[in-house]
């Protein structure tokens, strides 16, 4: 490969390289602590909501840098309602999940209608929710509980959102988990090869075999490593299934479907989109409806993990989701950004959080470090993109 090609390859994957470097840094400084099986589980469980909300936030940001400030507060409100359904009223898990989703859909429709058809600027429309929902959620909690929190959630609910698939004892190698990893890794390689051969047969540009080997090899190795680690820690967390499923669906949606394309085009030039026959209002509506639905799913993973609904739950979630997107290279003015980028951004922030808590850095300093790392990551990204031109 030419030196130039290597450079462009590095620049294209700048944030991924930063992620690896940061990980190596914490690997040394925690003396391998961040490489332990429980750290892998922790990383996934702790950040599940960031990936899920990040996918929703990505769709909103694509439409023109629009954000949803209300999702953190909505987690609190919906969590409180979930607590009322399952703990106070004693409704079944299935019916409670359905009710929570319906409430999410209702909120999403209302919000989407206000933004898309009444043309309320998104940050104002969602600021209202940001202010109101936490108050509403807290008052529901204190009306139903003396301590101001509702716990514990039913076991089946917890195992659905915060359990393990085919659980085993810690330290016992969990074969289903590792086999799942083997399957996923080989699926990645097979898909890459199939894309290549179909492109070749149609006479289009395709990756070289070395390129496929590198991509598939690295990707497959990463999957195997993660699943091997998880296998040592009791198996696949159900949160991982939720997160992986959502990431896959949204990757496909944004990169392969006409609907996804419409999101990018609306963010790139809304007038051009409209004059090309795209129903721009519908896209805005879908963006916020989608955000509310994903927020509902995120709520379930979060209350299952904390095993209770409390007043402070979901605090700053909106900021975490936005940070993940921005660090992941999603344009703050809309029209560009990928799910993969958001995933890398969210993982980077997650690794930094986990690493700092492993070395038990003072919480205040943690915030300082996070702030500067965010800034540095974005500066680095922007500069490397500039050079790449």
């Amino acid at each position: 490969m030419e030196r130039k090609e290597v450079l462009t390859l590095l620049k294209k994957n700048a944030m991924l390289i930063v992620l690896v470097l940061v990980y190596l840094f914490f690997l040394i400084i925690t003396q391998g602590g961040i490489f332990s099986p429980s750290s892998f589980t922790e990383l996934i469980n702790q950040n599940a909501y960031v990936y899920i909300l990040g996918a929703g936030m990505l769709m909103c940001m694509l439409t023109g840098g629009n954000i949803d400030l209300s999702c953190g507060a909505f987690v609190c409100l919906l969590g409180a309602l979930g607590g009322v359904f399952m703990i106070v009223q004693g409704l079944g898990t299935g019916i409670s999940i359905l009710l929570m989703l319906l409430i999410g859909v209702a909120y999403g429709c209302g919000l989407g209608y206000l933004i898309a058809y009444i043309h309320i600027p998104p940050w104002i429309a969602t600021l209202a929710g940001y202010l109101a929902f936490r108050g509403l959620g807290t008052s529901i909690l204190s009306a139903n509980s003396k301590t101001g929190s509702l716990a514990p959630f039913p076991v089946d609910f917890q195992s659905l959102f915060y359990g393990r698939v085919f659980p085993t004892e810690k330290g016992v190698f969990n074969w289903p988990c590792f086999l799942f990893g083997l399957f996923a890794a080989s699926a990645v390689i097979v898909i890459l090869l199939r894309v290549r051969s179909s492109r070749q047969s149609k006479g289009y540009e395709a990756d070289t075999l070395a390129g496929v080997a590198a991509k598939g090899g690295l990707g497959g190795a990463a999957i195997l490593l993660v699943t091997a680690k998880l296998a040592m820690d009791g198996g696949i967390p159900t949160t991982l299934l939720w997160v992986a499923g959502i990431i896959l669906v949204y990757s496909f949606l944004t990169s392969k479907t006409t609907l996804g394309r419409h999101f990018y085009v609306v963010g790139g030039n809304i007038e051009a989109a409209r004059l090309s026959g795209i129903n721009t209002r519908r896209i805005m509506f879908i963006a916020y409806l989608n955000m509310a639905v994903l927020t509902s799913i995120a709520t379930m993973t979060v209350i299952a993990r904390s095993q209770s609904a409390y007043a402070d739950i979901g605090k700053n979630f909106e900021m975490d989701a936005i940070s993940a997107c921005v660090v992941g290279g999603v344009s703050a003015s809309g029209g560009s950004g990928t799910v993969l980028g958001m995933v890398i951004g969210a993982t980077l922030i997650g690794v930094i959080n986990l690493g700092m808590s492993l070395i038990s850095l003072d919480a205040n300093y943690q915030r300082v470090v996070k702030g500067f790392v965010l800034l540095a990551a974005v500066v680095f990204d922007i500069l490397s993109k500039k050079r790449a031109k």
Partner: protein, 514 residues
């Protein structure tokens, strides 16, 4: 006269990979209007950016001698201090600020920490008067039209005590009337001793105002023509210098075939302004287009041409529509929906390719398929291989100059952007194309290619409506011409009977009659 005010000697400027200017020489004498012409990418704007210090000393080689002294500008302030003021093509005014505030932006008069508003506004009013604007300088810029905004830019330059005024395509967004007024203003400045450099694509303007014409091509000076001979310099003469060959015909001939039946017809079409519903923007217009016909709509800016086209295209402009739209003889009930229009095989190719035509942050590929994503997807899943194939096919067909269809549209030249816009709509497979100023702001060579595409479309049996404010273009390309003024069609002519004079006369007649 004839004291040399500015001399640029063997200027060479390279960008990574490209030599934008190669040994360019330019000599401007005091008190003259010097026109700088050349195709897009010939290096006109680069040269002016070198002169004004946007590209600072050291990033180019060669000398700038101004007023007898060698100058080394390190930024735009340096050149402005010596009275070299550049007015860029894209207006740089803040719409929400008053005219006065805009004129003194970055050049505020007053003390170190405070602005003297009384002085600002009284001085601004004085300069506005010299450019012939009656508006008060306290009026917000967004409330005045583009023509007047251009005059504000000139007043702003005057307020900077300009000695050498550089105008980069000052008339590209003005109608003929405003353009003429601007050129006359330039001539009156010349009488007062101002020196000016004008960059323009409109060659009739060059022969009207310029004393000397310097032609650039591919970053080199081709020649400097004196415009004071007995005969005025002909446009063909200038074009020859610009493109390096004689262009005997600026408009490609179209095979005259028998026209087909009427494909689209509108009757009593009336559209009201979306914000002021009492105002009729399009007033009782009736027209038709046959298959294989190119119908020109000529009118001055503000005549309602764009509004007419957009209202036909899925009512994408206006309110309170009335009238009837017939496609292939059948009345069509249109809703307010652009996708409906596309389904009825109508395409509107906008005049504002950057504003509402293209997604500049996306690739050629994405833009090409945009209006017809269905054709390259199955069950809403895009087949990216097919999309590449389509983009490449149109790149060849329209000769879009780019190595890769993954190139971002924002990085293309104006002519190539226009071709991508056309590609997008051709891929939507329309039967009726409403082309709104399809050659605005692009160079002679690219214009010719666009004309060829229009002819091909007509030959394929499509109906083309060509909206233009360039008379030669309408005359050269159309089979039939509608003349529009103040929202109404005032005349209809066969192309072979129409002349520039008869069209202008029709507009003037209607103005008096109303």
């Amino acid at each position: 006269m004839s004291k040399t005010l500015l001399e640029m000697k063997s200027i060479t400027k390279t960008f990574p990979g490209v030599k934008a200017l190669d040994n360019v020489n330019l000599k401007v004498e005091e008190g003259e209007i010097h026109a700088l012409v050349g195709e897009n990418g010939a290096g006109k704007s680069t040269l002016m950016n070198v002169l004004s210090g946007i590209y600072p000393y050291g990033t180019y080689t060669g000398d700038i001698i101004y007023d007898g002294k060698v100058c080394r500008f390190s930024n735009i302030k340096d050149s402005e201090r010596l009275g070299i003021v550049i007015i860029h093509q894209e207006l740089a005014l803040v719409p929400e600020m008053s005219i006065g505030e805009n004129m003194y932006l970055g050049n505020e008069c007053g003390h170190r920490f405070s602005i003297d508003w009384n002085k600002t506004y009284s001085e601004a009013d004085r300069y506005l008067k010299t450019v012939g604007l009656k508006e008060s300088s306290k009026v917000l810029v967004k409330t005045i039209g583009t023509g007047k905004q251009q005059l504000v830019e000139i007043a702003k330059a005057l307020a900077k005590k300009a000695r050498l005024l550089i105008l980069d395509e000052p008339t590209s967004s003005l109608n003929e009337e405003d353009s003429r007024a601007l050129l006359d203003l330039m001539l009156s400045f010349k009488k007062q001793g101002m020196t000016m450099i004008i960059i323009t694509h409109k060659l009739n303007e060059v022969s009207y105002v310029a004393d000397k014409i310097t032609v650039l091509r591919d970053g080199t000076t081709i020649e400097t023509i004196d415009n004071h001979g007995k005969e005025p310099v002909s446009e063909e003469r200038i074009i020859k210098g610009m493109v390096g060959r004689e262009m005997t015909n600026r408009f490609p001939k179209r095979e005259k075939t028998a026209l087909g039946e009427v494909q689209m017809e509108i009757t009593h079409w009336t559209v009201h302004h979306p914000l002021y519903p009492e105002r009729k923007v399009v007033d009782d217009v009736s027209m038709y287009v046959r298959k294989g016909e190119v119908v020109g709509i000529y009118g001055l800016m503000g005549a309602g041409r764009t509004e007419l086209a957009m209202s036909i295209f899925g009512q994408s402009y206006g309110t309170h529509f009335s009238g009837e739209l017939k496609l292939n003889g059948k009345t069509v009930k249109m809703r307010r929906s652009e996708s409906d229009a596309i389904r009825h095989k109508i395409a509107y190719v906008t005049e504002d390719r950057k504003g509402n035509g293209l997604v500049l942050s996306q690739s050629i590929r994405v833009n090409t398929s945009l209006a017809n994503l269905k054709a390259i997807s199955s069950h809403t899943v895009i087949d990216s291989d097919r999309e590449y194939a389509v983009a490449k096919e149109y790149r060849e067909k329209l000769r879009i100059k780019t190595p890769s269809v993954d190139q971002l549209v924002g990085n293309l030249s104006g002519g190539n952007q226009q071709k991508v816009l056309l590609a997008k709509w051709m891929f939507a497979e329309p039967q009726i194309l409403l082309l709104d100023e399809p050659t605005r702001g692009i160079d002679v060579g690219a214009k010719y290619e666009i004309y060829c595409i229009i002819n091909d479309l007509a030959a394929a049996g499509k109906s083309v409506v060509l909206i233009s404010s360039e008379l030669p273009e309408v005359l050269g390309m159309s089979d039939r011409i509608y003349i529009m003024n103040e929202g109404r069609f005032v005349d209809e002519m066969k192309a072979e009977e129409a002349t520039q004079e008869s069209i202008m006369a029709a507009i003037l007649r209607s103005g008096k009659g109303a």
